[in-house]
């Protein structure tokens, strides 16, 4: 292979931008570590590379890999970007970096122990006290807590970038709840799936050993139930920027994903609420920020944590990874002192270089900073509130003066750093390679007395060519990070990720289903049923509208008006087609129907049901398979992509509903075969059946409880059966003209027909009795008696009585009363289910309201 085809890729690489680059040296020669990979690129060619990039984008979107950006006008769940060109580091260099990272993690562990322990660094004058005491991450309640693990800092992440001297420099430390390892793993899986050719004849180290070490860390850090510890992942919830990763790691590692209100502190232990009761939690892998972890001792108005948690930690009855309080190490104020700290504790020099930094709390340093501010980057010592980082070269004179004033008012809160031009690496952008700034996030986890380092990590790339800062919050893309071993010529077989869980999964079995998961599954079932039934019903009405346009029969007009009104009753979006609004709405029915379909703010609308489902769906994302994601993703695309100007176009609306209904059915089918009943599908079924039953009742109350003349009644019955997808079955069963009694027999009273109300109620009863008992008591619970009563009631109902019309010749009171009672009973069943099993009804209240802002 000659070098010409490789460099041709780089023809315009440095066209208007010169920088220190990972691949291309200034004399236009190629870094030998990248040669093999570039050869593999050339074999594919630029067109193919572009196509593969599209494939990669598609794959990530289909797999639902997302990243949330706070206050993003594009809404939540922005797709994760991964550039197809990996970032390469040779094993030889990596070994040095690895050592440096191990040293840094070890050192920061000693710092953490000291800060919350003897405070020798402060007492002996190694670290000025303000760097710790004025840092918001220093949590005084964590003072003198003793831990189970040999290390206190059990996870450490660093952001590295290559400095002008050719070495990798430490830019930031991440210790509070480091994110990115899940994205790094997903990046590797995706690149390997889309471009296996890239790996040809290249030995890339795989991260699986690291994940095994991470899993071992979680298991081994348990102080309680060491044999079979219960491990959970604590997330702030679907709005968090890296929620995807929390759910991803939950399904990858097989530990339940929980929110603060799924956990409770009792008897000085942490418990997870499950359907059966409480199960003790031994280890929490924490993705909630330090200050939000315990509303009793930390931020009182936090609803993301667990009250009393710190006291359980003190009693060593739970291990938290990383321990609460470790955010104090995310502290650029420490950087100027790191070398002294290293000498103090380890009697050696720091291995990894850092950016030259000046802490403004020192007089000489402050003077230097104020005099040279234009050349510097100024940061507060705690970035926990995402305060602005000042790139002073871009500030106006006025802004500089303001910043200087701020520094002088509280000098100890600021650090200034040299402006460094870090290296770039090639990024594929529209038919060419472009040099972009890169930053590498590394991951270390405690292993025995040292740290295991992930080979590679997460590489993040600046959003634009000339951007200085690299951050996912500000957009930008990512890269797979390769540590390659060219010396070793033997190409190992693909490693797979599998290890024996030393512990059996404690959460198997319906009784151990976390309450929150159960609740979300229940509501998923309810919202899905509502979406499907509403869609079918509106579709039927739209079809009737089209028919009546051709027929212009009197009975059609009347039945159509009845159908319009039934929409309002079914969705409870009042006044709709009823009351004073009636005339106006009927004159222009599509106006009202558009609200019922698309107005997300109206409870009962299709859009509302779909978006409510969407919320539960994201909360449960660790349960869904990839196929489920894909189907739902296309469904959402169809729905969201529907043009607003077609909101009043009957044909297009019908077509949209057809598509949505087909996909919903596929989706529902997939759910039923992808999740086990014991995993919680039971709750989903209860929700689904309950909502279907409620809507069958609502439809029947709207259409069957009033007697009409023969023609109209025929139309109504046909419409009802149509919306119920039951017309064929009716014809098959009765082979007769449509008749009210037979319709009631079929859709309300049939034993064996899965769409009949009786069948649905019996199904709910069966499933309710499969729920775990809370007590050993043989007595029936309220939940059980309520559903039994409903089943009895329908069992005893007779179609001949139900069709009786009152003396007024107008209403079927018997039918109306039966349906009304059943509706109440189902509602009560839902309420007792919630009371008994979900029990998130208790509010968290502060005894005395003492919140603060700073």
């Amino acid at each position: 292979m000659t070098k010409i085809p490789i460099t041709s890729f780089f023809s315009d690489y440095f066209k208007d931008f010169e920088n220190y680059d990972e691949v291309l040296k200034s004399d236009m020669t190629i870094n030998p570590n990248w040669e093999k990979l570039l050869t593999n690129f050339s074999k594919l060619g630029m067109d193919e590379l572009n196509k593969k990039q599209d494939d990669l984008d598609w794959l990530l979107a289909e797999n639902g890999v997302t990243y949330n950006v706070y206050n993003d006008p594009n809404g939540l769940n922005r797709p994760w970007n991964l550039n197809i060109i990996p970032f390469v580091i040779d094993q030889k260099e990596w070994k040095t970096i690895e050592k440096g990272l191990q040293q840094r993690a070890h050192l920061l562990d000693l710092v953490l122990k000291d800060i919350y322990g003897d405070k020798k660094l402060i007492k002996d004058g190694i670290v000025p006290s303000e760097i710790i005491y004025a840092h918001r991450g220093f949590l005084r309640p964590c003072h003198q807590i003793q831990y189970n693990t040999a290390q206190q800092l059990v996870m450490h992440s660093a952001d590295l970038a290559r400095g002008p001297d050719g070495r990798m420099w430490v830019v930031n430390d991440r210790t509070e709840a480091p994110s990115g390892m899940g994205y790094a793993l997903e990046n590797r899986f995706s690149v390997r799936e889309v471009v296996p050719d890239f790996f040809k004849e290249i030995n890339v180290k795989q991260p699986f050993g690291f994940f095994k070490d991470f899993n071992d860390l979680l298991i081994n850090s348990a102080a309680t139930n060491k044999e079979n510890p219960t491990i959970v992942i604590l997330t702030p919830g679907p709005h968090n920027e890296t929620y995807f990763e929390h759910a991803y790691l939950s399904s990858f590692l097989g530990y339940p994903l929980v929110k603060g209100n799924d956990l409770v502190v009792r008897d000085n232990k942490v418990w997870i609420k499950t359907l059966k009761g409480l199960i003790q939690v031994d280890v929490i892998y924490r993705r909630v920020d330090d200050a939000y972890s315990d509303p009793l001792e930390l931020k009182g108005d936090s609803y993301l944590g667990v009250a009393g948690l710190l006291n359980v930690v003190r009693a060593k009855n739970v291990s938290i990874i990383n321990p609460i309080g470790s955010g104090v190490l995310e502290n650029p104020g420490l950087i100027p002192f790191m070398n002294s700290i290293c000498k103090y504790f380890l009697k050696e020099d720091l291995l990894l270089p850092q950016i030259a930094s000046w802490w403004c709390g020192q007089e000489k340093e402050r003077k230097y900073v104020l005099e040279n501010i234009r050349k510097l980057v100024v940061k507060p010592i705690d970035n926990t509130k995402r305060e602005h980082i000042y790139f002073c070269e871009f500030l106006s004179d006025k802004e500089i003066e303001a910043l200087k004033k701020e520094i002088l008012a509280k000098p100890y809160r600021y650090v200034a750093q040299e402006k460094i031009s870090f290296s770039t690496a090639p990024n594929l952008t529209k038919d060419s390679l472009e040099p972009r700034k890169v930053m590498c996030r590394t991951f270390a986890v405690a292993k025995e007395n040292s740290y295991s380092i992930m080979p590679g990590g997460l590489v993040r790339v600046a959003a634009e060519r000339k951007k200085l800062s690299v951050s996912n919050q500000k957009g930008g893309t990512s890269k797979d990070f390769w540590v390659t071993n060219n010396a070793n010529k033997s190409f190992k077989k693909r490693q797979r990720f599998h290890w024996h869980h030393s512990s059996s999964n404690i959460f198997s079995g319906i009784e151990n289903l976390p309450s929150n998961t159960a609740e979300n599954l229940f509501w998923s079932g309810r919202y899905l049923a509502r979406t499907l039934v509403t869609a079918r019903y509106i579709r039927m009405v739209l079809n009737q509208m089209t028919n009546s346009e051709f027929n212009k029969r009197e009975s059609d007009t009347e039945s159509l008006h009845i159908l319009y009104q039934s929409i309002t009753h079914l969705t409870s979006i009042f006044p709709g087609f009823t009351g004073k609004n009636k005339e106006k709405a009927i004159e222009n029915p599509l106006e009202e129907i558009a609200i019922v379909l698309f107005d997300k703010t109206q409870m009962g609308s299709l859009a509302h049901a779909l978006s409510s489902f969407n919320n539960s769906y994201y909360t449960l994302r660790n349960l869904w398979s990839k196929d489920i994601w894909r189907v739902f993703d296309t469904l959402k695309k169809d729905w969201n992509g529907f043009d607003k100007k077609d909101h009043h176009n009957v044909q297009k609306l019908s077509k949209l509903l057809d598509t949505i209904i087909t996909k919903l059915i596929a989706f529902i089918g997939l759910i039923e075969e992808s999740i086990l009943v014991d995993q919680g599908l039971l709750l989903y079924f209860i929700g689904l059946q309950m909502e279907q039953a409620i809507m069958t009742i609502d439809k029947s109350r709207a259409l069957l409880t009033i007697s009409y003349n023969e023609d109209v009644e025929y139309e109504i019955l046909e419409s009802l059966l149509n919306s119920h997808e039951s017309l064929n079955i009716y014809r098959y069963s009765f082979k007769s003209y449509l008749d009210i009694e037979n319709v009631i027999k079929l859709i309300l009273l049939d034993d064996a027909y899965s769409r009949s109300l009786k069948y649905q109620l019996n199904r709910i009863r069966r499933d309710v009795f499969r729920l775990p008992k809370r007590t050993n008591d043989a007595e029936l619970t309220t939940l059980e008696t309520t559903i039994l009563k409903a089943c009895d009631m329908i069992e005893n109902a007779k179609s001949s009585t139900l069709i009786q019309v009152d003396e007024n010749g107008f209403t079927r009171t018997e039918l109306e009363e039966l349906l009304a009672s059943l509706s109440d009973l189902i509602h009560n069943t839902s309420m007792s289910l919630t009371d008994m099993y979900f029990n998130h009804s208790d509010e968290q209240i502060q005894l005395i309201n003492q919140n603060y802002t700073n």
Partner: protein
């Protein structure tokens, strides 16, 4: 002087509370000049977990949880405290101490010793006292000048707050920001202490919050009623080379034997007498009754009764 102190807090909840986690800063300290002779913390309903810890500031904190349903929570701290102010460090403030000027104090704070490092954290922002405003700084500047004695300045600051601020329990809550307090010049002891602390910190000096009790006296000729006292708060300033000196701006005095110290912190947030998180729903009402009176042994009581008969 021996005092018996009873501090009773009652929460009545409109609805049942399923469980709660709380912490109490109610146990008086022991140090040279103050000795805790007896202490008892009664909690009703009986707590499931009760554990005493020493916090970052060296105060004793009791964590407790109640894990059965309840509609009422009563926490009663009963203590017997011996106060001998004369034995305390800085009991009589020396002329030398009184002569330390602001300029000298700031210079001394730069020379790091374990004591200075410890004291200096009380210059920094805290939960309730942060981003100190210009108004507060200007208020402080009227008393604090470079060449003026820190003691004199602090004493004057205390007097000014006593004279210019109106005691008004209806004005503030535990979370009223100090900026509102200095604006309205109204509040309670806690507010006055925190305003003073903010003033002193704005000059670059360490100041801390003191939570405790003060003995009060009934109107002349009247019997003292039970529970008419209150928990109290004041502040302390650090004079390098001499240590902490307490000032009570609510009563315009340097605390002596009538003041009983429970806890030190950076501000109220660090040492609330009681805080907690409850799980339930609905409103709650709070009653606090504090009673401080000189302790009488059974003998003394009998004698007194006999004399009266």
């Amino acid at each position: 002087m021996i005092f018996s102190v009873i501090h009773k807090t009652t929460y009545n909840y409109a609805n049942n509370v399923t469980y709660c986690h709380n912490l109490a800063n109610l146990k008086p300290k022991t140090f040279v000049g103050q000795e805790l002779l007896e202490y008892e913390l009664e909690i009703e309903p009986k707590p499931t977990i009760l554990k005493e810890n020493i916090d970052f500031f060296g105060n004793s904190v009791t964590h407790f949880s109640i894990e059965k349903q309840h509609k009422k929570l009563v926490v009663t701290a009963k203590s017997k405290v011996k106060r001998s102010y004369e034995a305390q460090k800085n009991a009589s403030i020396s002329d030398e101490c009184k002569s330390v000027t602001l300029e000298q104090a700031l210079a001394k704070l730069k020379v790091l010793s374990p004591e200075i490092i410890e004291a200096k954290q009380y210059v920094l922002d805290s939960a309730f006292i942060n981003n100190i405003s210009k108004t507060i700084h200007n208020y402080a500047k009227k008393s604090f000048q470079k060449e003026r004695s820190v003691f004199e300045a602090t004493n004057e600051l205390m007097q000014r707050i006593f004279k210019e601020f109106k005691f008004d329990a209806s004005f503030s809550t535990v979370a009223t920001p100090i900026d509102e307090v200095i604006e309205a010049k109204k509040g309670v002891c806690q507010d006055f202490a925190q305003v003073a602390i903010a003033c002193i910190r704005s000059m670059g000096l360490p100041a801390r919050y003191v939570s405790g009790y003060i003995e009060t006296f009934p109107p002349p000729g009247k019997e003292k009623l039970f529970g008419t006292d209150a928990s109290h708060a004041w502040f302390s300033v650090y004079i390098p080379g001499f240590g902490w000196i307490d000032f009570d701006p609510t009563n315009n005095q340097i605390p002596k034997n009538q003041h009983i110290i429970v806890a030190y912190g950076r501000d109220y947030y660090d040492v609330p007498p009681l805080k907690g998180v409850i799980y339930g729903s609905g409103e709650s009402t709070l009653e606090v009754a504090v009673d401080i009176r000189p302790f009488k042994s059974e003998n003394q009581q009998q004698q007194q009764q006999q004399q009266q008969q």
